[in-house]
């Protein structure tokens, strides 16, 4: 069973940066890291390949400036190899153009299963994996909270507004996993050392047979026209509990005249 896991490398959310008011670009510093949301996909991929008794996990990522730190983290967890697409013409890509790039890279790996997170921590469009499935000509099951593979079929407990559905489809397929589906392993020292020598293929847009007008800012066909501060919600009264704070809440509720 060969699994491709899409992993996004993002600025550390602990230092989130902000949108530049004049250029509207995200101002960020430092190295990119593995999106925590994707560590669940990596773990799930590793477990499914192990359960299938063979096969490997290939990581696919699109990131600026040849960034590999996040990929190294996922390789250290146990993925076998990685494909990185990095190219200056990709700056300003939206979800659809990113999906086009990832689809071309994934086709090279010929996977039985493609895993992604339901949404990324920094972009959170949540549409990319489904766009990817459509471009790959595959069925998709989103919002998986449990994934089982048997006899060329993937079976998923899919989150719904009301509870969950049992959903099934034949492989190859795209599945998006929610956080909490599995417990991502921490890379071991051995894993970290091994990751340094694992194959990491770096590709440019031209290697994928795509033209630069289909991707990047040109392909996005959208623009940010402005950024403003949201109407501020003022912090109100703050009370340190000395045993009677609940009385403040009771008074607050009474003054709302709820019922």
């Amino acid at each position: 069973m060969n699994v491709v896991v899409c992993v996004k490398q993002i600025p550390d959310p602990a230092a989130p940066g902000s949108l530049d008011p004049s250029t509207h670009n995200l101002v960020r510093g430092g190295k990119l890291i593995l999106d925590d949301s994707d560590s669940y996909g990596v773990e799930m991929g590793l477990q499914l390949a192990e359960q299938a008794g063979g096969g490997e996990v290939t990581l696919v990522s699109m990131a600026p400036a040849g960034e590999t730190s996040g990929l190294r983290t996922a390789l250290a967890m146990g993925a076998a190899k990685a494909i990185l697409v990095s190219d200056d013409t990709l700056a300003g890509s939206d979800a659809l153009s990113t999906a086009k790039v990832l689809a071309k890279a994934i086709e090279r790996a010929q996977p039985d299963l493609v895993l992604a997170a339901t949404e990324s921590t920094d972009g959170y469009t949540g549409t990319l994996p489904v766009q990817l499935a459509e471009l790959l000509g595959m069925p998709s099951i989103t919002f998986a909270k449990k994934v089982l593979i048997s006899d060329g079929t993937v079976r998923v407990e899919r989150q719904t507004e009301a509870g969950y559905d049992d959903v099934e489809c034949p492989l190859p397929a795209v599945v998006t996993v929610t956080s909490g589906v599995v417990e991502p392993r921490y890379p071991s020292f051995k894993g970290i050392m091994a990751a340094k020598s694992k194959p990491l293929e770096q590709l440019a847009v031209s290697d994928l047979g795509l033209t630069s007008d289909a991707v990047g800012a040109a392909g996005a066909r959208q623009e940010v026209t402005g950024v403003s501060a949201a109407a501020d919600r003022q912090a109100g009264e703050k009370v340190v509990d000395e045993g009677d704070a609940h009385e403040h809440i009771v008074r607050f509720i009474e003054q709302l005249k709820l019922a």
């Binding site: 659809l96 469009t125 459509e134 595959m138 069925p139 509870g163 049992d166 489809c169 703050k238």
Partner: protein
């Protein structure tokens, strides 16, 4: 080219259109001259009156899709309508599980981009400006499409208020699912599981009492449920404790969970991460109980209690019970 025709993806919930569908239809009326809905399910024609009442002149009925997931089949049916010369200028879809799937599929099928996480819309001449909340809603980015129509917007629930227009029933027109979908359309629902909940619905309740990791354990969540019940409200939760398995996902408030706008939101042991705040910051009033005086939740709370939930909440429950 002026904005004329607006489509709304209509979802069902409990035998009627979902509340977000009605919100989007209401907004669509103010954006264009013709409002049409795209719906699926075995009973769409029975809802033509409601769709019409909220302003839709036509409902494209994809019909009963059986056990298929809506993502592929509904998107393919809509794409077929669009490419046969029936394209809208704007298509509004709800930010729900199926809404996002349909938007993604449609976008890739027609090779048109999609703007997601929309929290505001405005027609500006021949263009549409969409608003997007950044950084937990502290910043608002405005965006627009620069390419051809239709323009796809995935809109967060509760962005607009639903109001009937009082117009007559919509005309129902069948929209067929193309038969050549092959492997794409092979995902099948085998069984549906509904998590039963009592009391008002989380996204409709006037009072929401939500618990986070500070509650301490799954067992201690009982005090959140009890407080919610005393206030005729619904209990909610952060993703942290949903992921930990303390409560089902249907409790989750935030970016990936429900958007709530109650009169009163009581946050118990919740830090106030941006992804939580986007789901509840529009509550009319917010009370937070957190033992960390610097917790970000306090910056948007009308009343902040710096204290231990295990002290404050039980006393609050007693006091409310004594009050009767």
């Amino acid at each position: 080219m002026p904005i004329e025709k607006i489509w709304v993806l209509a979802e069902h919930a409990d035998g009627g259109p979902s509340s977000t569908t009605l919100e989007l239809l209401t907004e669509a009326r103010s954006m264009g001259t013709t409002v049409e809905a795209v719906a699926w399910g075995p009973a769409t024609s029975e809802l033509a009156g409601t769709f019409g009442d909220y302003g839709a002149s036509t409902v494209y009925d994809v019909g009963d899709i059986g056990d298929a997931l809506p993502g592929v089949s509904v998107a393919a049916a809509a794409a077929a309508l669009i490419t046969s010369g029936n394209a809208p200028d704007v298509f509004l879809l709800p930010a729900t599980f199926d809404g996002r799937d349909i938007a993604g599929r449609l976008s890739a099928r027609l090779d048109i981009p999609v703007l997601t996480n929309v929290v505001g819309l405005a027609v500006d001449g021949d263009t549409v400006l969409s608003q997007h909340a950044n950084f937990g809603g502290t910043q608002v980015a405005t965006a627009r499409f620069t390419g051809g129509r239709p323009w796809l917007f995935v809109v967060r629930p509760k962005t607009f208020a639903a109001e009937p227009a009082g117009s007559g029933p919509a005309q129902v027109q069948a929209a067929a699912v193309p038969s050549d979908l092959g492997a794409l359309n092979t995902a099948k629902v085998l069984e549906r599981h509904v998590e039963e909940r009592t009391g008002p619905k989380l996204d409709e309740a006037a009072v929401v009492v939500a618990g986070g990791r500070g509650i301490g354990s799954a067992d201690d969540f009982a005090m959140v449920e009890e407080l919610a019940k005393l206030l005729n409200g619904a209990a909610g939760a952060t993703r942290a404790i949903v992921d930990a398995g303390w409560v089902p996902f249907s409790y989750q408030v935030g970016q990936t969970g429900k958007t709530v706008k109650p009169t009163l939101y009581i946050a118990c042991g919740i830090s106030g991460a941006t992804q939580h705040l986007v789901g509840m910051k529009d509550a009319k009033s917010i009370v937070a109980i957190n033992k960390d005086q610097d917790a970000p939740i306090f910056s948007i709370s009308d009343l902040g209690i710096v204290g231990d939930v295990h002290q404050v909440v039980p006393k609050l429950i007693e006091a409310l019970k004594a009050r009767g």
